[in-house]
């Protein structure tokens, strides 16, 4: 679970970097599209990754046995985060 957490942190950092890059576009033709794209990433991707990291942290650091339903719910957060494509994959796909 530690590796998963590191991977998700990297994913989160990559996406935050992309958002910053998108917000730094001032071309009057591209800027509105970049803003929409950045907003979508902020609203739909970053929370999933953040929740995945939080769930992985709980699973990794909990010192007592958690109930099965809690473990399943936390795993579903982690899986949802892992299902998101990494930014590099998106870039390669676009290319």
């Amino acid at each position: 679970m530690f590796e998963t957490r590191v991977f998700l942190h990297r994913q989160l950092d990559d996406h935050i970097e992309v958002v910053e890059r998108l917000k730094a576009v001032f071309d009057h033709q591209l800027a509105p599209y970049c803003a929409i794209f950045a907003e979508r990433i902020e609203r739909q991707v970053l929370p999933v990754l953040a929740d995945g990291i939080e769930a992985a942290t709980i699973l990794d650091q909990a010192e007592v046995r958690l109930p099965d339903c809690t473990v399943q719910a936390l795993m579903s957060h982690v899986e949802a985060a892992l299902r998101l494509k990494s930014w590099k994959e998106v870039e390669n796909h676009e290319a």
Binding site: E54, I58, R65
Partner: protein, 254 residues
Amino acid sequence: MKREGVKEACLQLEGVFSAIERHLGHLEALTTLLDDDLSLMQNIFRTTELVWSPNIHLLFGAIQVETSTVVEHQTRLKQLMLELDIRPNSPLIEPLLLRFSRLFAAHQDSQWIEQLPNPEFHTERLVEGMLPSQTRKFLSGEAQLMIGKFAASCTSWPLMQERLMGHQHWIECIMATLPPGHVLSHPLVLIHHLVGEWDRRVREQIEIGAAIEELGRLQRSIESSPGEGRVFALERLRLQSMVVPFSNTMGAEE
């Protein structure tokens, strides 16, 4: 000489029967304590899903049957001893001796097995009204200590779990020493299964309580979380909805 031998055997059997009657009393006391604990839990969980009363009644019934058989043996034994004393040539003596021949043989067997190096590896005769020597050994020793320990009232889930572990222990100990087919075996198997299911529920409650505390501790220990504590809050709420508070107020609410 023969009469003296018969009287001695009768006295031995008399001692055995009074001991078995006491042991069955201990078993009944343990069953009553289990009944109290299970009814307390049914009251707390407010569920009728795990029906315990028919199984407990079955066990009480089996204990009653065994006790009444022992009492009948005691009565007949007294009759035999009286006949031997007052009317040595009574026609009742032979039938009564026949009645007790199997019981005496079973007692002799048990005595012989008890002297062997590993008595638990030998099967004793299955005779109505007799308990195997290992069962009697447990009921006369450890079971009495357990009755004392069960006397304290239960005030929390961990205590209830310990009590259920204790109940499982005495049921397993008796089940392990009874031969298959004994009148007490079947109800004990059913009760054991039921206690296991209640034990699972109690463990679940303890686990939930510990998990809520652990989530709080983890959240405090993590300085900044990218999810702003959403998952922590969500899971804590989910767990809190599953908590069943322990309240030992049986009968007070009705």
